[in-house]
């Protein structure tokens, strides 16, 4: 019984490695995402695999078991160092705790590219390809304020955030929304310290539907007159919508989000989400791969967007109800550029 299973596993492994294709001589590049379940990371991985095949490098991908799983990312980086990778791209689950391991990798000569969620401090990585999350938040914030018009000064806003430890992507989007809406953000590196009476409250979602639904229900209990909901990403917005529908409030509430995945843009079309800032994970992955491939061949490190600490891969507002002063594209165009 024992040897049969081992034999089956061995045969499977041999078959898989034979089907793998790329020869051992190919450069190894790593991709470490937060989880394998968020469609954002699934798309990023697919884009990376396609680009890797095009560039002729071997991609090894890893992910954590949950959003916030730092240990799995530490293990992954060590495996990559030991495998002799030329570099890797990482979406850090804990932007501060991963820094010592990233330093170990850089000391070993690997190029470290951070995608989507900047490290803390941001220069702990060789390069960061990310959406300007603050700007993405500002876009939906100013859209929401202008859409409400006069009612914006009496609005009741619920904030559906990511996690209690406030990683960079979380506070940047949250504070960006507030700034765009016209709320005094006090400390821009932290949310929850503001005193604006329009804020009903913050709750964490883990970036998923289930968390979004629970958080929305909690905040509705706090104040049933919420009319604006900021959400950290589209899965959370989907969950929030379920809670609003259950409370019979889905027509009276403006929901905004960030991501720009195809299911999310469909939600904008269906009226579930009012507007969303679209970001480009496939672009992040392919630019990251190109940078590592370049580094492997020439030893040259990638450059930043002038004026920023990272390379901005862009954020575009998608809505079918454009307002003056906030540039946006229509849902039809958004569907063409969406991912997932």
């Amino acid at each position: 019984m024992l040897s049969r299973t081992l034999r089956a596993l061995a045969t499977g492994a041999v078959a898989a490695s034979l089907m793998g294709g790329t020869a051992y001589a190919a450069d190894i590049v790593g991709l470490i995402t937060k989880t394998n379940t968020n469609p954002f990371f699934v798309k990023m991985k697919e884009g990376a695999e396609a680009k890797a095949m095009e560039l002729g490098v071997e991609l090894q991908s890893f992910a954590g078991k949950f959003d916030g799983d730092n240990d799995a990312q530490v293990d992954a980086i060590e495996s990559l160092i030991s495998a002799g990778a030329k570099g890797f791209m990482i979406v850090p689950s804990d932007s501060a705790a991963i820094v010592p391991t990233v330093k170990k990798a850089r000391d070993a000569g690997l190029l470290v590219i951070v995608l989507d969620t900047p490290l803390d401090p941001i220069d702990a990585a060789d390069a960061t390809f990310a959406t300007d999350n603050f700007k993405a938040g500002e876009l939906i914030g100013s859209w929401a304020a202008k859409t409400l018009g006069d009612k914006a000064k009496d609005a009741k806003i619920a904030f559906l955030d990511l996690a209690a430890n406030q990683p960079t992507v979380d506070y940047l989007r949250d504070q960006g929304f507030m700034k765009g809406f016209g709320i005094d953000i006090k400390n821009p590196k932290k949310y929850g310290d503001e005193e604006d009476p329009r804020i009903v409250g913050h709750d964490v979602t883990g970036g998923a539907e289930e968390g979004g639904q629970k958080a929305m229900e909690n905040l509705l209990q706090k104040d049933a007159d919420i009319n604006v909901v900021y959400t950290i990403n589209e899965p959370a917005a989907g969950g929030a919508y379920q809670a609003l529908k259950a409370a019979g409030k889905e027509k009276d509430v403006l929901v905004v989000s960030i991501d720009g995945g195809c299911p999310g843009v469909q939600n904008v079309k269906a009226g579930v989400i009012g507007a969303t800032s679209q970001q480009y994970p496939l672009l992040m992955a392919s630019m990251g791969l190109e940078a590592i491939s370049n580094f492997a061949k020439t030893g040259k490190k990638p450059e930043k967007t002038p004026g920023l600490d990272f390379f901005d891969t862009g954020a575009v507002l998608i809505t079918d109800k454009p307002v003056d002063g906030v540039p946006s594209i229509s849902v039809e165009e958004g569907l063409k550029k969406c991912w997932g």
Binding site: L2, D69, N70, S79, S82, A83, T101, A163, A164
Partner: protein, 360 residues
Amino acid sequence: MSSTTETSRGPSDFEKPLGSAATTVASFDEAGSGPLKRLQHFLHNYPTAIPFIVLVISVLAFSAIVGERFYATRNLAIVLQQVTVIAILGIAQTLVILTAGIDLSVGAIMILSHVVMGKLAVDSGFPVPIAFSLGLLCGLVCGAINGSLITFLRLPPFIATLGTWNIFNALNLWYSESQTVRPGDIDAAAPFLKIMGTSLTINAAQFAFGTVLMFTLAVIVWYMLNKTAFGRHIHATGDDEEAARLAGIRTDRTLIAVYTLAGLICAIAGWALIGRVGAVSPNSGQTANLDSITAVVIGGTSLFGGRGSLVGTLVGALIVGVFSSGLKLAGLDVLWQVFAVGLLIIIAVAIDQWIRKVSA
């Protein structure tokens, strides 16, 4: 029943058939002693042989399939480093499982203790030896709470530790406010806490002090389990608690001591974790309790108590590490590692059930 005073009486009528009865003493009827039966007997006597065999076979198999990338000392040293923290938790879990209990809160105790150590040293400015000792004390107290719930309130260990897992997690989130203690701050205030992460490089392979700590701890606990009376009491309590109690063993005290010791070992695992990661991340270790149970079970320790070995747990942890590394290097997706671990667990427990059936 024959009378001893009347020796001249011959056999009575009802005693006559006795002469033709069998005279052999009652014995077990061994149904055939083919190779399978002999294997079963051998494994019953040396249960740790199985994980060893599996480890050797898997290392050879992966070396053949993957090649140099797998069996290079550098890679094997990395595998050793990656399983260190779980192996230390596995030592704690083995002690508990030997008493036919289970501890679901090992991960939570580890994280709470390491947060206490880190925050006291860095944020509250305590001197490092005091912060470190308070962290260990925290683990001790958590373990004692587990032990007390199980002995005084007679709660089943699964239920008691399920409850304390949630409570310790909540305490951890409350005390740490979910904030990671930054690596730079730890370097400045308490570099001693990270000592378990420093490594010696021998021939391009890195061996962290944490691994040395794991082996030292294993030797000490092994000695206690096998060469001291307390260790025998642990085995006896796990094998049959009622019989042990009737034989004069203070099972209540033994259980409390075991859980308290387990809590202390979890705090030591927390210290090793700080060394490995270089930061104090309160969100770590969410699945560490299940990983430690996996290592113990694959290592051949019986979940029904009384039988098992510490060496088996270390080998079990290594098997999980070897499979993860080998399958990854063979190019398989991560989900096959998870599948393989599940399969190993089922096979390990099935084999344990099979060898239990043998009498001696």
